[in-house]
Subunit: 659 residues, 2 copies
């Protein structure tokens, strides 16, 4: 059934192989001046390779190679080193691959400044120290309370969950840690105890407990808490055993089996390396440990439509009475989204007979890691026609086409939450990026005043109100890189009726605009946004209209943080439903965008699309949030791009007529 042939063009976008990771690591380990620790649990004072990842080749070089038989771009890696010894984070380009021979410090070129070691994410090595610290400073010192209030003794512990950011100023590393019962689905078992840990120093012997919250009351030290507790001057929590309402284990043996997809013609798509072919579609795929799943060089009938379509960020802003989540804004890509793409469960996460692909990553480790079956690719019957028409007026006939689509999916379980990431390919020439949220909500212990921040969802447990903002990078190239940004909308205008002079009526008009600067094309939520947004070529279709693709955003979260909030600057992308910028290789992520006001017309445009939803947790979020209604995405739809719907040529078409 396959019309297309595989080639090697996708390999430029392929994630590094296990062997490549190893070569880069070994090359870096060998550099005498870098003195990098080989320990997976390296200490904060050590030099540690946090991340090795594909360095995306520059777009101009890629296009030269793909479209103009230019030279193949050099393959290289980005390597992030936490230089504990220098108190800096440095980013290197290491190449060529295979067999690296150079490493270049690209930090200042990329970030315009040196990066303080304080802004690093917490590594497994630091967590190991932190857990020992908590054991010694909390569980041992508060053993009586831990026993009476939380039911733990001896080597038993509570599970920590961190708030973020780690302070009000950048460089702060003072983290509120909330404690949860050590059981499956801990995230909805808060015990009513939170501590503020100052772990700014690379030397963990200088770490301090700065504040404690026990049952809604603040204390300055474990000593103060112990004293007041013993003197009955603290409102006490009495430990009570409870059934684990967070358990996903069915109470009765499951006996059901829902409908399964059945492929009578076998797989109608093909995967080779990181290239997928499906009817008229071809594309390359990869998975960044930081930002997540991405596809490149999406072509329909051989013509590139999208250069890059990728997950950029998943942000959640929480409301809370207790300090563990008062400030909390999870910016998942700062921890890493793609790194949590684990094995997919056949028959639930993806259809049983989907094609499953392994991924390899090198993040917070000392060796490449294999993640078996962490991407799935399958054809799916959406259960609804792509198009159909039945006619019994004047002529009798029926024509239709089932809506079968190709889906490529990964699921990232980032702590409590699981995001399902889909890219979907339609026979009508549309591509969709879609996300759904599931997994556990974040929760906090119920204390006076906490109902202003959410609903109670379980014993003593508040499900905290929060937003889900998801950002996709959409680098469409509509018939080449020179594109314009267009909007279309409808407006009622009062008109005289030509056959009834003097009589007027309101008639819808088509209103088209072309926006010329990044400032104009940053479409803020709350403003009146035209209903149709287009990336258009200046080339025209058969009827003289600019060939374009429309961006249809599916769900939007609503209000972002007020712009007066100091932390808003670093996440200003969330203000915009869609923002358009000129492509820059160095502007590869959404976080650092809106500093300039470039002119274009035409230019290589990139759309940054924000989708998501407001989540007010409720009892039905226990044990897990369901995906129904909890998603968002963007559909890229041809609009005067083809001369007619390309699905007319689908081999799946059905036509019935009486003669």
């Amino acid at each position: 059934a396959l019309k297309l042939k595989h080639d090697d063009s996708s390999l430029m976008f392929a994630d590094l192989t296990a062997e490549e990771y190893r070569q880069v690591r070994d090359y870096m380990w060998k550099q005498p001046d870098l003195q990098i620790s080989h320990d997976a649990l390296a200490k904060p004072t050590d030099n540690f390779i946090f991340l090795i990842e594909l360095q995306l080749p520059k777009k101009a070089a890629v296009l030269q190679f793909l479209d103009e038989s230019g030279q193949k771009p050099v393959r290289s890696a980005t390597v992030v080193v936490f230089h504990g010894s220098l108190k800096e984070i440095r980013e290197y380009e290491v190449g060529p691959l295979p067999n690296p021979k150079f490493h270049t410090d690209i930090t200042k070129g990329k970030y315009k400044t040196a990066l303080s070691i304080q802004s690093r994410t917490v590594t497994i090595g630091e967590y190991a120290i932190l857990f020992r610290f908590l054991h010694k400073e909390i569980f041992e010192k508060l053993s009586k309370i831990c026993n009476e209030s939380f039911g733990i003794s001896g080597t038993q512990t509570l599970n920590p969950f961190e708030g973020m950011p780690r302070g009000l100023r950048s460089g702060d590393r003072r983290t509120w840690i909330s404690f949860f019962r050590n059981m499956g689905g801990m995230y909805i078992h808060p015990v009513g105890f939170e501590v503020l840990v100052n772990h700014e120093s690379l030397n963990s012997s200088e770490w301090k407990i700065e504040k404690l919250l026990y049952n809604g009351q603040y204390f300055n030290s474990t000593k103060e808490l112990n004293a007041k507790y013993s003197a009955d001057k603290a409102e006490k929590i009495r430990y009570k055993e409870i059934l684990n309402y967070a358990s996903l284990k069915p109470k009765v043996k499951p006996t059901g089996l829902g409908p399964q997809q059945h492929y009578l013609q076998g797989n109608r798509f093909s995967v080779k390396n990181n290239q997928v072919l499906y009817f008229d579609w071809s594309f390359a795929f990869g998975l960044s440990a930081l930002t997540g799943m991405r596809v490149f060089d999406i072509r329909f009938k051989g013509e590139r439509i999208v250069y890059e379509l990728s997950v950029q960020e998943a942000m959640s802003v929480y409301g809370s009475k207790t300090p563990g989540m008062i400030l909390t804004k999870f910016l998942d890509s700062s921890i890493g989204i793609g790194r949590f793409a684990h094995e997919l469960a056949r028959g639930v996460d993806c259809p049983y007979s989907a094609e499953y692909v392994d991924t390899y990553r090198y993040i917070d480790t000392n060796k490449p890691m294999r993640f078996r079956n962490s991407i799935c690719i399958f054809e799916h019957d959406t259960g609804r026609p792509l198009r159909r028409h039945f006619s019994d007026f004047f002529s009798n006939s029926y024509g239709g086409l089932a809506n079968s689509v190709l889906v490529i999916r990964s699921i990232t379980a980032i702590g409590n939450y699981d995001y399902i990431w889909d890219f979907i390919f339609y026979h009508s020439g549309s591509v969709e990026a879609k996300v759904h949220a599931t997994g556990y909500i974040s929760s906090s212990f119920k204390i006076p005043g906490s109902m202003k921040y959410g609903h109670q969802v379980a014993e003593n447990t508040i499900g905290n109100i929060h937003t889900h903002f998801i950002n996709f990078k959409v680098d469409m190239d509509v018939l080449g890189v020179k594109n314009v940004f267009q909007t279309k909308d409808m407006k009622f205008e009062e008109e005289e009726l030509p056959w009834l002079p003097g009589q007027k009526a309101f008639v819808p008009h088509l209103v088209e605009e072309q926006l010329a600067t990044e400032m104009e094309a940053a479409l803020e939520y709350g403003g009146k946004i035209p209903r149709y947004l287009h990336i258009a070529s200046n080339k025209t279709n058969r009827w003289g209209h600019q060939r374009s693709y429309r961006l249809q955003v599916i769900s939007f979260t609503g209000d972002h943080l007020p712009e007066s909030a100091p932390e808003e600057r670093s996440m200003s992308w969330a203000r915009y439903k869609v923002a358009i910028t000129k492509h820059k290789d160095e502007e590869s992520q959404c976080s650092s965008l809106y500093s300039q006001n470039n002119m274009w017309t035409p230019a290589d445009l990139v759309a940054w699309v924000t989708t998501g939803f407001l989540h007010i947790p409720h009892s039905e979020d226990i044990p897990n949030t369901v995906t129904v209604g909890n998603g968002g995405g963007v559909i890229l739809r041809p609009h005067n791009y083809f001369d007619e719907d390309p699905s007319v040529d689908s081999p799946d078409a059905v036509y019935i007529h009486p003669d």
Copy 2:
């Protein structure tokens, strides 16, 4: 697999059977004072039974019967008679069924006024006369032009397509008819010729052609057109044969077969009469010839959640340069939506192995009509988990559940457009009403100035800009009929950080409101609408929160007609994303709603939900609009209704853990 048992409670909502239609018709035919024609093609001057349909029993009586072992409500029919002889439309209740013995004129009680015969829809009988009229007054009188410009001769004709409404004032019956080539998919083959027919008189010999538009030029009579055409004073259209780009016939023999749903456990739902059982769900269904598909008495675990969920209206407002669509606002229910629910194509319209149900209708006919396989019911794998969580922090486990749903569907092909209507039932206690549009766009002939109203999509053909407004009636009864309307939203408030006196941050707060009048609860598009809308009971769940269902509207069209437009009053529901009213048996449809400002709190509330989208046609709408991105709907989601997600008990649940 079925846990529930069928009963006869759904029969109260069942459409009339063929035998019942016949009994009602025969009873009416027998009334000597009514003098009803038996002719299917009755003339406008005749008395004609236009419609026989189930008269929905009064809600109070139904609830008495279902919940308090009251008497079974009398079953009766609504009969709409076009009394040509009296120049009135009258509506009768005829009952009891079976074996009717009474007929009561309910017109004035229902409409507060007599109904003029002028407001009747055009019957097949009138169309037959109209076609003869057009033949005689147009095709014969303009035979030269018809031949040279449109390529027809002899008995050949063009196909008419009517604009609506039929004038500016109610009672007007002056219809612009546009002509299209007589070929499959005529709707996108406008020939450039439109005529204004005055057919106000019941006596067709008084009908007149009042205006003609030929190639963008207006003429007062066929005589004037003929004269100017012959004198070369009219810009001429030259007929050209073209390939039928509207054809749905594949150019090459289709050989593809997409994925099919496969039911390893057989059907996991059961249909008996008009009752469906699926896991914890039960409901009754029916199909009104006027408004379309509807479900009643939706229960989950035996508890009624929805009394009625039904399609109410599909409206499209068009922009155009040519008069045939300048005024056009299709209000589909005025013609009848459900009457066009035809046979569904297995494997395209619904899965091959769906359960198919026949429907029977009596509309614009003289005998009951059977529509084979016009409703389908099937279980569908959405291809995405309903919920899942993978954990490798602290404890290792995986729990998840495939998202299998039950779908009940009909598809109505109302002239050019096909709407796909779904009601969907989820294991998590949600119900969704969903609509997708497909089929042919409406088009007009390209003349100077027409590009302000759409894009050119084919030879000489403009796809006219238009809106799709769809209205659903959602009569939820959350733990009985006494409900309140609640909104929830998030608001940032600046707060002092309890552990950092003097330092402030913006923190999301939960904001809840209860709206007390219909005026307040008519949520206009454009206004700031709270993100969560709830129908709530005053009863609380285990954690003290009001048990509620949330209405999540999926897509909204945008601007409605300005309120200053005189015709806006009759379609004012389209202003509102959601409007809440007190249930009234006589307020069964959305069209006549917003006259009062009733107080409630608590009361039996009904939500009128408007969804849809703006459609700017483009070349890919040729030959048919695809469903991708062209839909809308509303999800009814439990929110603090259950104490936990009811899908935890699903027999399909999957759980994996290492020990």
